[in-house]
Structure formats: structure tokens, C-alpha cells
């Protein structure tokens, strides 16, 4: 995903024009279009599109009357396929029973992420709807126009008299046809220069509250298949042995006993560990126990999280290595401030912990081409990585974009980890021998790519009137982008994903400084649902709440008084407060907290209610969430993503933490790394603020505000802010 980021400024098309391309396929009508890029980009685009694969289109209508939509965006549960299908169907007026969505790949000109400048295909940053908004509506509209033109010619009637509804093209004379009947003729029609899109007041699909996902049924009866479910002739299963510490390497290994086990096919060294290949998963697991490995730990990370956090806390009190924002004069403002609040926040490493552990399957074919099945969230990168490991060129790599049992960022990994394992194992097995690499939960939890641990040293000052005059936040932690192919994104020592959410603070604070010290720790890290905002929102929003208390101001009014230039922030805050009954008294033992955060151009405010219980603990009872994500495409999915984001974020701040001792990860499974369970899930109400702005994303922005909102409710109850996460482990001794 960061390939985009790195090219964000240089490759953004300076002008974009909609060119419809249509053609006859063996199947019927295929509609695509190309972005016309600025002249300087053409060379690059040409190189990128030299890919041999069947997906050169957005919408295909088959003679069998199927509507096949080729999605540029990856589906990991967040509903991107449904959203994209909604955009197409709005303009195409098809019948949802006709719809299939499959993952397109291998043509950056066609599938490049528009929201990031179009230079590569990838899914992330909650950009799927903003990237697809024009592209897929125009594709649907173009397909519809061609079907109408074909019908007009066939029936010899004016195109303007033709009606299209629910997958049927008809004329008042009584003539009618299914899309499939017209597909071949439509493909031969002259392509219109441009196709007008429906005006907002004619929308029937976009914004419909009653429209349901087309893909739910298969997820209720076991029919939906994921990478783990792949079946094909001759498929073997491999399980992995990874280094016990990050940076350790294989010195030698003895697979004699494992290979002697009935059903073990081979034991293979890959660039990332040892693959034990068996006829089924259980056999491979038994074989794995028999492999003896000697590790070379010379380059291994030997620190534990206790040492790492101690180093971070120390570094946080020093000057920052780089300055991300510096408004006014913070030292002078602090010197004259009436009241100062300061302290350190500590954020642990977090695991994505999707329930489908990482996996991928690969086959080197007899002709040397390679098939790779998996959660291809970054297809351009994975195609290139598979080609490199497989000893061929990217155009010889066929990707099969599988549905995935969660990602939360983990399937968008710059080193293509499990893809490399699968392709190198397949290569070792030889041509025509497919293999699926399946990680166990332990592989997944100990395999790295965590949300980095961070320390924030914060300081804020109030003047005599209770106004915030200065805020200083020094963030210490690893860079997600550092050392990756996207390291070029780091400008002047600032990885923007480390400081986002702090540098773009919406509150009117005249003296504001954000510093960053990027650390060198050999623990692999990655973006984790809402990335920088997972920690910056917590630090900033709990600090603002503490300042409100110190100024003796209401937390909602206090925030609103500093949001004069940010009406969208203010609007979601007002809606959440109003719907939650912020001004109404609560029963004894019940407390409220509020938090507000914009991430990835979506604005979310949460008001939570908690109840303290006798065991010195608490329960989150209710969350009222207000969201402004621009034009609401699928309102019920926006609600679903806010609900899910709240549950995901709540589990993290309450009780998720990955720790290491002597370089070894302590947690292995869900017994010690503990996502939220149902009994901890609050009631959630989501209110969508009406908007006619272009759509932004909802996959991630539901996560950041829940943590600080809960912490602020706890502060309301106990008078103390919990600055070290996770909360439950660190709240002992807190009493109301």
C-alpha cells in the first residue's frame, strides 16, 4: 500500500478522462476504461500494464446473463466488494441475483488505487470507496449505455424510448431482453465519449438502508471458501517452522525423523523458515514436531518488551529526533501557563490476530507459469514477489484473489511473507505440484508484523481562563514504513504513519509541537487497523479530557470551543452527545466519556457509558457513535464497520498486549492474547451524519475513538487517566 504513498505526489494524474473501452470476449461484453495520465506518467503506465491475465475490465456481462464485476479492491470482510457492486448496480440497473464479484489484478492502469494517485493496486487506508466512487459508477453506466444501444438497433427504436430495470431491457412495443441476450451485440456498439451518471435524487441503490450484502448466505452455510479451504488435484499442505527470535537464522536442520513419518512428502527450507509438507494438515503438524533445527541467533533481537519500553520512556524525555509540527512557541507558552498537565503514555505491541491464520497456496505449472492463491491485498507487490522467488517474470504469475478471514492490515505486508513461503515451497516440490502453506495460530501470533509499541511524552498547558495554550507530544517507537520499499515516504525523519492523528489535531491550540523519535528494534511491525491513530487518538483525546476537567469545563463544550474551523468534527461530536443524552443525569455508579477523532478523512465521535462493579472493575454498557464519511453508499455496512471497529478497538485497549522476554514472544494463542468476547460487547448505536461530500472510508475510522472514550469515562468515575495500556491490567488500585 505504501508504494502508493511514496508516489502520492509525483504520479497523481494531472488530468483524468473517462475513456470507455469495450470488447467482445469469449463470454460476452466487457467494459473497462483507462485513466489518461499526464505525459510524464505514460512510460510508467505502459510498463505496468504489460501483464498477461484475463482481467482487463471492470464489468463483464456474460451470455449466460451473469454480471461479473472485477474489483480493484480487496475483500477482507469490510464489504468492499459489496460497495463496489453497489456503485456498478446503481448505474447498470441489474438484478442482484446476477452479480458475482471477483478480484482483478495485474493491470495497474486499470486497478491502481485512485485515492493514492493510481500508481499501484492495493487496498488500505480505508480508500476503497473513494478510489472506486467514479470509476465503478462510470463502468456500470457505460455497460448500460451499450446494452441500450444494442437493443435500440435490434428493435429499431430510439434509444431514448428504452427502459432498463432489474436486469431487463424493454420497450413499450413489448420487446424485451435480458442483459445476456444483448451482451455480444452490445460489445460491438460504438463506445460513447462519456456517459452521464445518475443524479443523486435518482439513486436507488446508493444510500439505500434496506440493501443487504449479496454475499451473506454463503457465510451462514459453510459454502464460502477461503484460502484454507482450497482443494485441487494433488494439493499438499505445508506447515511452517519459523525462527524462535526475530532475526535468527537457520544454522542447520535434521528432517530424517520427520521424513520417515508416513504421509510426509518433503521438508523444505524457504527464505523464511522450514516448510514441512504432508498429505494433510495433521500429518504435516506431526512431522513438524520431529524436525530438529539449530538456529543461529547472532543477529537476533534479544530484548524483551520491558527493556524496550524502559528505553522508550527514557528517550521520550529527551529531545525528539525529528519535528513533525511546530506551531508558535511551546516552551514560552509553557513558561507562562497557569496549569501544566504532563505524563507518559505507553502502548504495547498488538497482533492483528485474524481468525483465519495466514496462508497461501502456489503451483509451478509445467510451462513455468505460477499460480498463487491467497489474500492478495497488494497484488502488484505479490505478483512481483512470487515471480522473483519462482524464478520468472511477473507476467507469468497468475493470482487467485481469495476471500479472507480477516486482515486488519496483516494481509498487506510489504515482504509478502506467506506468499514467498508458498512459492518457494512449490518450487522445491517441482512443477505441477500444488502446495498450501498454512500457518498455525502460534505461527500467526509469533510471526511478527505487529502494531508497534509506542511511548508518548505529553505536556499541555492552560492559561488563567482555562484555554489550552500549548500542547507538546513526543512520540517514540518503530516506523511501519522504515526499512520497507516505502521508506522513501519518510521525509525529514518523519514517518507520517507514526504521527498521524497528532499532527492533524483539529483543536485551535496556538502553540503545538509534535516530535518523533523513530527507534531501531528488530521486531517486524505493520499497519494495524487505523495505524497511527490507534495510539495518537488515545493520547490526545484523554489529554484533552483531562484539560477540560482541569479547566472545570464540560468535555463536549470544551472541545466544541476549539473546533471553530472544523465543522465536520463539531457536527459528529454534537450528534453523538445529543443522541447519547449527554446532558441527562445518569444512575448511580454509571459514568460517561466522550472522544472525537478524524482518521483517513472520516469523522467519528463516541459517547460511552460504563458501570463500575464490585470487583473493582467496570463494564462498557453502551456506545453512541456518530460518523461522517461523506456520501453514505451502504448505510448498514457503515453501521457494521463502526460496530466492528468499536469491538476491535475495545478489545485492544482493555486487554490486548503482545510481550517478549529475551527476544521471545510470550503469547502463542488466544488463551494469552485475548481479543474481545461477546460478553464484553456493549450495545452500540450508530448515527450517520447526512452528507453530500464524496465518500470516504469506514473500515478503520471506527477504531480510534473508543479507547479514549472509555478511558475518559473511567477518569470521570475515578479521577485518574490510565496512561498505560491495556487498561484492565493497569487499572489495579483505581477506586472511585
Amino acid at each position: 500500500m505504501s508504494q502508493f504513498l511514496s508516489k502520492h505526489n509525483s504520479v497523481r494524474p494531472t488530468r483524468r478522462r473517462f475513456l470507455v473501452g469495450a470488447g467482445v470476449t469469449t463470454a460476452g461484453l466487457a467494459v473497462g476504461y483507462r485513466l489518461v495520465l499526464a505525459a510524464s506518467d505514460i512510460a510508467q503506465t505502459t510498463t505496468a500494464k504489460v501483464q498477461a491475465n484475463p482481467f482487463q475490465t471492470y464489468v463483464e456481462i456474460t451470455k449466460e446473463n451473469r454480471i461479473i464485476i472485477y474489483s480493484s479492491q480487496f475483500e477482507m470482510g469490510q464489504g468492499s466488494y459489496f460497495g463496489i457492486a453497489t456503485l456498478v448496480m446503481e448505474e447498470l440497473d441489474g438484478d442482484w441475483a446476477q452479480v458475482d464479484v471477483v478480484g482483478g489484478y495485474g493491470n495497474t492502469a486499470l486497478y491502481g488505487n485512485v485515492a493514492w494517485g493510481g500508481a499501484a493496486q492495493a487496498t488500505g487506508g480505508s480508500t476503497s470507496m473513494s478510489s472506486s466512487w467514479e470509476r465503478y459508477r462510470k463502468a456500470g453506466a457505460a455497460a448500460r449505455a451499450l446494452l441500450v444501444a444494442a437493443a435500440a438497433q435490434r428493435w429499431d427504436v430510439p434509444a431514448g424510448e428504452i427502459k432498463v430495470a432489474s436486469g431487463v431491457v424493454s420497450h413499450a412495443s413489448g420487446m424485451q431482453a435480458r442483459y445476456g441476450d444483448l451482451a455480444e451485440a452490445a460489445a460491438g456498439m460504438p463506445v460513447p465519449d462519456d456517459v452521464p451518471l445518475k443524479p443523486r435524487d435518482k439513486w436507488a441503490q446508493i444510500g439505500s438502508d434496506s440493501l443487504k450484502r449479496y454475499d451473506s448466505a454463503g457465510k451462514t452455510n459453510g459454502a464460502q471458501t477461503y484460502t484454507i479451504d482450497l482443494m485441487m488435484e494433488g494439493l499438499q499442505t505445508a506447515v511452517m517452522i519459523h525462527p524462535p527470535k526475530f532475526g535468527a537464522e537457520i544454522e542447520s536442520f535434521d528432517a530424517t525423523k520427520a521424513k520417515a513419518l508416513d504421509g510426509i512428502v518433503d521438508v523444505v527450507q524457504t527464505p523464511r523458515g522450514i516448510a514441512v509438507v504432508g498429505r494433510d494438515t495433521w500429518t504435516a503438524l506431526k512431522g513438524r514436531d520431529l524436525v530438529e533445527v539449530t538456529w543461529n541467533e547472532e543477529k537476533a533481537e534479544e530484548r524483551g518488551t520491558a527493556e524496550i519500553m524502559a528505553e522508550y520512556n527514557k528517550a521520550a524525555d529527551d529531545l525528539g529526533a525529528a519535528t513533525a509540527r511546530d506551531d508558535g512557541n511551546t516552551p514560552a507558552a509553557f513558561a507562562s501557563a497557569e496549569k501544566i498537565i504532563e505524563g507518559h503514555y505507553e502502548f504495547p505491541y498488538l497482533v492483528h490476530a485474524s481468525i483465519e491464520p495466514l496462508n497461501a497456496a502456489a503451483r509451478i505449472n509445467e510451462d513455468g507459469t505460477i499460480d498463487v492463491w491467497g489474500g492478495h491485498q497488494m497484488p502488484d507487490l505479490y505478483q512481483a514477489a512470487a515471480a522473483q522467488v519462482g524464478g520468472t517474470t511477473p507476467d507469468k504469475v497468475r493470482l487467485h484473489v481469495m476471500k479472507t478471514g480477516g486482515s486488519f492490515g496483516r494481509r498487506a505486508v510489504l515482504d509478502a511473507d506467506v506468499i514467498i513461503e508458498a512459492v518457494s515451497t512449490a518450487r522445491a516440490l517441482g512443477r505441477g505440484k500444488p502446495v498450501k502453506v498454512q500457518w498455525t495460530r502460534e505461527n500467526d501470533m509469533r510471526g511478527g508484523r505487529y502494531r508497534p509499541a509506542y511511548v508518548h511524552a505529553v505536556k499541555a498547558g492552560l492559561d488563567k481562563k482555562g484555554n489550552v495554550v500549548a500542547l507538546h507530544d513526543h512520540i517514540v517507537g518503530q516506523s511501519v514504513l522504515g526499512g520497507s520499499t516505502s521508506a522513501a515516504m519518510i521525509k525529514n525523519g518523519i514517518d507520517p504513519t507514526s504521527v498521524e492523528g497528532a499532527t492533524n489535531l483539529p483543536y485551535a491550540i496556538p502553540n503545538l509541537k509534535v516530535e518523533l523519535t523513530t527507534t531501531d528494534v528488530n521486531i517486524p511491525v505493520l499497519w494495524w487497523r487505523s495505524v497511527g491513530s490507534t495510539h495518537t487518538a488515545y493520547a490526545v483525546e484523554t489529554l484533552i479530557d483531562e484539560l477540560a476537567a482541569a479547566a472545570n469545563r464540560d468535555p463536549v463544550d470544551f472541545r466544541l470551543s476549539m473546533l471553530g474551523h472544523h465543522p465536520r468534527h463539531a457536527a459528529v461530536l454534537k450528534v453523538a452527545a445529543e443522541k447519547a443524552g449527554w446532558d441527562k443525569p445518569l444512575p448511580e455508579g454509571r459514568f460517561r466519556g466522550v472522544a472525537l477523532h478524524e482518521s483517513l478523512s472520516t469523522y467519528v465521535a463516541d459517547v460511552v457509558e460504563i458501570t463500575l462493579n464490585d470487583e473493582n472493575g467496570f463494564k462498557v454498557d453502551r456506545v453512541v457513535c456518530a460518523v461522517d464519511c461523506g456520501t453514505a453508499i451502504n448505510p448498514d455496512q457503515i453501521r457494521a464497520q463502526m460496530e466492528g471497529g468499536i469491538g476491535f478497538g475495545l478489545g485492544a485497549i482493555l486487554q490486548e498486549e503482545l510481550t517478549l522476554k529475551g527476544g521471545v514472544v510470550d503469547q502463542e494463542n488466544y488463551d494469552t492474547y485475548t481479543p474481545l468476547r461477546i460478553e464484553q460487547m456493549p450495545r452500540v448505536e450508530v448515527h450517520i451524519v447526512p452528507s453530500e461530500e464524496p465518500p470516504t472510508g469506514v473500515g478503520e475510522p471506527g477504531v480510534p475513538p473508543i479507547g479514549p472514550a472509555v478511558a475518559n469515562a473511567l477518569r470521570a468515575a475515578t479521577g485518574k487517566t490510565i496512561r498505560k495500556l491495556p487498561i484492565i491490567k493497569n487499572m489495579s488500585g483505581m477506586t472511585p
Partner: protein, 152 residues
């Protein structure tokens, strides 16, 4: 050789008796609706019914199911099961969907035992089923709705 009933059909399996039922059902028999998530009975993605009881198939050895009646997600039938599935889709409960086979097996068992569950009943019966997408809010609503429909 182990003989048992799977989704109403008599079956035999000639595998390592220590093989977890999960891998036998998925890799040997080829029914992949039952999912692997942890291998430690911590996540519930592998939940099946053994003689009607919701059971983690990752911790159930094939050697221990002689004579048992096993139901997987593919074998869900009857008024309760079908209503659960229909409401699940209608409420758009699933996001990624990966854990939902297990959720549904646990929900069907709950509603069979307790036709009108309270929130506490639901929390206690469903606590063993993790959903990383955190669809819990809708799971609760869907179970209540199913109970209401089955009542009438």
C-alpha cells in the same frame, strides 16, 4: 477404523485415531465449512455438534467419536437451524464470515436448549466463539430475532 454418523449419513474413517475431528472432516472428508482458528479450543471456529452438543472439533480426537452423531455447518437443518441461517443473512451479521460457521453451530445449540434466551444466556453460550470482526452486537440481535420467529 471408526464408524460414526456425519450429517445424517453413516461414515467410516481409517485415519490416525489421534487426528482431531476438525482435520478429518476438512482434509479427509472434504467438508470445509468447519474452520481452523486456534487448535486449542479457544476460538470456537471449529464448533460442530456431537450428539447435539456444541463441541470444539479441534480438540476432539477421531478415536473418540465411535458411534457418535456429528453435525457440521453443512448439515444444519430443521426449523431452528434454517431460521438462524436466514436471520443471520437478513441481519448481515457476517463480515469476513470466517468464524460464522462456529457461531451458528453454537447459536443453534443454544436455541435448541433455551428457546427464549436472555442476553446473559447468549453471552454465556456464545462466549467461546471469537469474532475478530466483532460482529457480536448483531449476533445477539440475530439470536433474539430467531427466538421471536420460532415462538410464533
Amino acid at each position: 477404523m471408526v464408524a460414526f454418523t456425519l450429517n445424517g449419513e453413516a461414515r467410516t474413517l481409517d485415519v490416525d485415531p489421534e487426528m482431531p475431528l476438525l482435520w478429518a472432516v476438512r482434509d479427509v472428508i472434504g467438508l470445509t465449512g468447519t474452520k481452523f482458528g486456534c487448535g486449542l479450543a479457544q476460538c470456537g471456529a471449529c464448533t460442530v455438534h456431537v450428539n447435539g452438543m456444541p463441541t470444539r472439533s479441534c480438540q476432539t480426537a477421531v478415536g473418540d467419536i465411535e458411534g457418535a452423531s456429528i453435525t457440521t455447518i453443512e448439515g444444519v437443518s430443521g426449523k431452528i437451524g434454517e431460521t438462524v441461517q436466514a436471520v443471520w443473512a437478513e441481519f448481515d451479521v457476517p463480515q469476513c464470515g470466517y468464524c460464522q460457521s462456529g457461531q451458528i453451530m453454537s447459536a443453534v445449540a443454544l436455541l435448541t436448549e433455551t428457546p427464549k434466551p436472555t442476553d446473559d444466556d447468549i453471552d454465556s453460550a456464545m462466549s467461546g466463539n471469537l469474532c475478530r470482526c466483532a460482529t457480536y452486537h448483531r449476533i445477539r440481535a440475530a439470536i433474539h430475532e430467531t427466538a421471536n420467529r420460532l415462538e410464533t
